[in-house]
Amino acid sequence: MTSVPLSPTDATLPKVTVRRQTASGRVALTLFVIALIALVAMPWWAKTGTIRMILELCCYIAVAQMWNMLAGYAGLVSVGQQAFMGAAGYAMFVLAQTFGVNPFLAIFLSLLVPAALAVPCYLLLHRLDGPYFAIGTWVVAEVFRLVASNMGWLNAGAGMSLNVMKDYSGFERNVAMSLLCALLILATIGGSYWFLRSRYGLALIAIRDNPVAAASQGVNVGRLRFMIYVAAAVGCGLAGAVYFMAQLRINPPSAFDPMWSNVAIFIVMVGGIASIEGVLIGTLIYFIADRWFGEYGASYFVVLGVMTVLVALYARTGIWGAISKRWDAPWFPISRHLILKAEDRA
């Protein structure tokens, strides 16, 4: 038996091209770039209140997308990503307030903390089986909260204020918040898209579909999961640092608020798991619902909870799943289509 050469130059094989981008993808990419420019330009078209609202929206998108990467692709269901948001938030406050580092530089330096903490956390938690992993992440977030509540140099339960922001004018702060919003979206949404289109993305999609089969094809499942866990910790950390810089205050219950997990899970499940489009749709729904029904407090959360149950029972793929079943027009296409060259078909 002779070996079959598989090089694309072989004349016996049909000439193909790999199509990655679609018309809908090009439109969406253009809109994405316009949205990023609009975010950067916010100080010139939006009031401070609007900028703060959009900043909150960007944080929801970022945290939800990080949860989506973990649960939707890597098979790591976490209910404790707030651990890394609080850790980065506190690191930023300590650097800027206690050590006098420029707060905007401190945001980036503070990302080292969630990255460093995520490594031992993953090494411990990956020993837990499926659903137990999720509760394990919750314990980690609780540990972080309790440690922060007991640490004197974090001002224990009373929390810290970011007084150094007084040195900047309102306009300067608006410019910084706008740039950070754009960066947050670029890093989490753009970064995820880039990652999913890469070699690693292909491996990640294989893991999503079947981890055992992926491993048998040579995908290093453990290493990829580890990478995603650390990356998600840094992404959530960036969202946390930006969010608490805008809040100007941090204390243990707000820094490690499980609300973030509730919201991320709601957004991703309702919008559509394992898709970037789903995160954007889910965030929009959550944000509008929060503005309209937030005043109803507890009963509003009862509805959110019941909706999450219903999605898990009857509509696992969420809204985007229903849309993409009917119309094949992805905003962030990541699949590869083989196209036969026309002259071969003739």
């Binding site: 411990l124 837990l128 314990v139 540990v143 019941v306």
Partner: protein
């Protein structure tokens, strides 16, 4: 003496945690799912019990007699309506469904009972104490520990000796092979969840007698149950029982060192076990 006292208090506290952990160990062992609303169900049952006691003037014993059948029914309905649809190899649907349920239950309780802490009037039983070997221990925690031991023993005997227990273990080992031998897995699952939540009926009475309950407390109970199961080692009810004791002792000693350190000490022991013996103290590797 102070540390011996902490040890005794820890074992008694462990009796409380064992009542949460047994049901969780049973459900995970049989279906490989974790019910995130486990703790919220304890709180819901406690609040129902307190309302029963105040509106009808029932004593703790009668509250328990009413709550346990109610809890069994709740577990059975939970399995039929939600869990049977999400049980499977993928852990995501069951986690998300019970997570949503937990969110809904917590806020529903907040609406009905407000955020106030309440407790069940025990008619003096909660403040009585007995002297054992030179230290005073509360009568109620001793009763809790006796109940926890009895429940563990009954569950263990049921799993080992009865026809239903064999069906349960068969379904846990290989659900398809069990189905081929004539076991209906859905029925077995429904009974397992009914038992798991039924045990929470006992836990609810004791929890609301020995301390206060508020709608937001469920998460902590879930975490304690989970830690006890992992510390003890999966797959055995006695593992969950011993794990509860280890967790209780860790917290009691932690509280003696510093009141802010108690719960954290329990978490740290859990992480230590995870780092050094991930299969649990009594688990098989």
């Amino acid at each position: 003496m102070q540390w011996f006292d902490a040890l005794v208090q820890g074992v008694l506290l462990g009796g409380m945690y064992a009542q949460y952990a047994l049901g969780m160990a049973l459900m995970f062992g049989v279906m490989r799912i974790v019910n995130v609303s486990h703790g919220d169900l304890v709180i819901l049952l406690s609040l129902i019990g307190i309302s029963l006691a105040t509106s009808f003037g029932l004593g703790p014993f009668w509250v328990m007699a009413a709550l346990v059948p109610l809890a069994v029914a709740m577990g059975w309905i939970l399995q039929k309506v939600i869990l049977n649809r999400v049980v499977g190899d993928d852990p995501l649907p069951s986690l998300i469904a019970t997570f949503g349920l937990s969110l809904a239950l917590q806020n529903l309780m907040l609406q009905i009972w407000s955020a106030n802490s309440r407790s069940l009037p025990g008619g003096g039983i909660e403040s009585r104490s007995v002297e054992v070997a030179g230290i005073y221990v509360g009568l109620l925690p001793v009763i809790v520990l006796v109940f926890a031991t009895a429940l563990t023993l009954c569950l263990d005997l049921m799993l080992k000796r009865t026809r239903f227990g064999r069906a349960l273990r068969a379904a846990a080992a290989d659900v398809e092979a069990a189905a081929m031998t004539g076991i209906n897995p859905r029925a077995v699952y429904a009974s397992a969840t009914a038992i798991a939540v039924g045990i929470l009926g006992f836990a609810a009475v004791f929890q609301s007698l020995r301390s206060t309950v508020a709608p937001a407390d469920g998460g902590a109970q879930l975490v304690y149950a989970f830690e006890a199961v992992i510390i003890g080692g999966m797959g055995s009810v006695w593992g969950a029982f011993i794990g509860s004791m280890v967790l209780g002792i860790s917290q009691a000693i932690g509280f003696r060192i510093d009141p802010g350190f108690g719960v954290l000490a329990g978490h740290l022991v859990f992480l230590l076990v995870l780092a050094t013996r991930p299969q649990g103290l009594f688990g098989k590797s």
